[in-house]
């Protein structure tokens, strides 16, 4: 029996370990326009996101407080990064693309306008090999969607991952 985890680098890439350990967007926004909680009742992971809009309605800033695994925290942090400057429709489309990436490991039909963001999110694509962990990656996005739609809560068990 060997005790090496080298082949896990496909799932836990350095960017995930780094953002999981030292998230840049962790914390609360004192002044915010929208907030929502996300909850995965199966594993007890929870997240709350806060969003501040710019005057033109795009996302100016996103912060979060999460209790969860390295993948969920890294996913929340990278999400906060890539949604900055996007309006609600853009963000929803990006969530759809990311969901496909997380579930299948690729997003062949994704729009060119999303490519830069998806490249940034690509380290999370490794979760597609671990069906039970896909929800870890998508929970922050469910919470953000709920905030943008004015719903207070999202659950990982509400429908599609």
């Amino acid at each position: 029996m060997s005790g090496t985890f080298d082949d896990l680098r496909d799932l836990y890439q350095e960017v995930i370990l780094d953002h999981g350990r030292r998230p840049r967007h962790s914390g609360r926004l004192e002044r915010f326009d929208a907030t929502a909680k996300g909850d995965n009742p199966l594993c007890g992971d929870r997240i709350q996101v806060w969003v501040k809009y710019a005057p033109d309605g795009t996302i100016a800033d996103t912060k979060f407080e999460a209790r969860g695994c390295a993948i969920s925290v890294a996913s929340a942090d990278l999400m906060a990064e890539v949604v900055a400057g996007r309006n609600k429709a853009d963000t929803a489309a990006l969530f759809d693309a990311f969901r496909e990436l997380a579930r299948t490991g690729a997003c062949p039909h994704c729009e060119a306008a999303q490519q830069e963001a998806l490249d940034r999110l690509a380290p999370l694509a490794g979760v597609h090999e671990y069906p039970s962990r896909v929800k870890c990656a998508t929970l922050p996005w469910h919470a953000l969607s709920a905030a943008l739609q004015g719903r207070g809560e999202a659950s990982s068990e509400g429908g599609a991952p």
Binding site: M1, G3, L8, R21, R67, A70, I71
Partner: protein, 414 residues
């Protein structure tokens, strides 16, 4: 408890040959199955017994007058005898067969809770219960007003016996419903003392034996308890079968749980009468194949013997506590004097799910999460832990591999 030299009473290498699944590879590596407390693997004899029934001897039970039905009834009812012997129950008719232990607990909350307890009587549980021994009593409380009391546990993960007695002392507790062995901490509760105290204050006692029956011989007459529940699939048997033992006079005083076929004596639209115990509580076609499988599992365990099983578990537990306890940054929950082969732990800077995923890459299966015991997690200031649990087929080498792998997990997230 740190005894390092125990008699090798169990030939684990031979036992492993009885479990076909242990030959499987996971991600190209040998399966190291340390999640038996969630559900145990099945020996060949269980698989063969269920298969043989389906291939050669199967029909519905208790009703057919034909050969197949009579033979199948005999095979199914033999499970009741095996269960009665396993628990040393005074009478086979005191064994109620359910679908799982959760159904057993809900049967108790329904038939004893709503049918026997008075609304001003309380139910006392402990701070280390599985959700299946919390929620049914919450539902009872919310519907009928029966108070739900919770006896706290100590930092060591043991039942606080002073507080336990204090909660009994006003005589209002009608039922103590408590685990015999924690599925998170591995703690064995002091069952005889619990029964003595409860009876002294007029309460009946129900034990959740889902974990305890796997590792130690349970003798309900020696314990002196009133009810005892366990589930088949953790005892190397199939899913879909559980057990509730109760004293006959108590079962007879309880109204039925579910209604349907099998549980009646006579039926008219005006009034129906109930079958004798245990059939009064066994509505519908019972878990026939599961009963046949559970009997095979019980026979298998009995043939090995609980003395050897308990010694094996103690030896593995001591070894695991020593190995995991020596790892920097690994925190083991609880340190009860009397504990068994279930160990929950947290690793610095690593979430339980990340631990489980990393271990899985080495073929090691552990459970990660709240283990259906959220209040207990909160008691220790945690949301989730990883849990390794041991069985007949667990080896010291597997525990060494777990410890070595955990050291690597810690490096990975350092």
């Amino acid at each position: 408890m740190n005894v390092t030299t125990r008699p090798a009473l169990l030939d684990v290498a031979r036992i492993r040959e009885d479990f076909p699944i242990l030959q499987e590879k996971v991600r190209g590596k040998p399966l190291v199955f340390l999640d038996s407390a969630a559900s145990a693997q099945k020996p060949r004899v269980v698989i063969d017994a269920m298969r043989a029934a389906m291939e050669h001897q199967y029909a519905n039970v208790h009703r057919g007058l034909h050969w197949m039905s009579e033979r199948t009834t005999d095979a199914y009812e033999a499970a009741r005898d095996a269960i009665a012997a396993l628990l040393n129950a005074p009478e086979r008719h005191e064994i109620v067969i359910t679908r799982n232990i959760t159904e057993s607990m809900n049967l108790m909350a329904h038939s004893f809770g709503r049918g026997v307890l008075k609304p001003d009587q309380a139910v006392l549980i402990s701070g280390m219960e599985h959700h299946s021994n919390i929620i049914p009593w919450q539902l009872l409380r919310d519907e009928r007003g029966n108070e739900l009391r919770v006896a706290p546990i100590t930092d060591a993960g043991e039942l606080d016996m002073e507080a336990f007695e204090r909660l009994l002392s006003d005589g209002k507790v009608g039922l103590v419903s408590i685990t015999h062995m924690s599925n998170v901490l591995g703690t064995y509760t002091p069952a005889e003392r619990i029964v003595q105290l409860a009876h002294a204050y007029g309460a009946k006692v129900l034990f959740d034996g889902a974990q305890a029956t796997v590792h130690r011989r349970v003798d309900v007459q020696a314990l002196g308890c009133d009810f005892y529940a366990f589930t088949g699939h953790k005892l190397y048997g199939p899913t879909g079968i559980g057990v509730l033992w109760g004293r006959r006079e108590l079962l007879e005083a309880m109204p039925p749980f579910m209604g349907g076929g099998e549980m009646i004596s006579s039926v008219t639209y005006e009034k129906s009468t109930w079958a004798q115990v245990p059939h009064k509580f066994e509505a519908g076609t019972p878990p026939i194949l599961e009963g046949i499988g559970l009997k095979a599992a019980i026979d298998y365990v009995q043939a090995i013997g609980y003395e050897a099983i308990a010694a094996h578990e103690a030896s593995l537990t001591d070894h695991a506590l020593a190995r995991l306890g020596a790892l920097e940054g690994v925190r083991i929950l609880g340190c009860a004097q009397d504990r068994g082969g279930v160990i929950s732990f947290a690793v610095d800077r690593a979430h339980a799910h990340d631990i489980a995923t990393l271990l899985d890459r080495n073929g090691i299966a552990v459970r990660a999460g709240h283990h259906c015991a959220e209040p207990l997690m909160h008691r220790f200031g945690l949301e989730s832990t990883a849990r390794a649990s041991f069985a007949l087929y667990t080896t010291r080498e597997e525990i060494d591999f777990l410890a070595d792998s955990l050291a690597r997990v810690r490096e990975f997230f350092a």
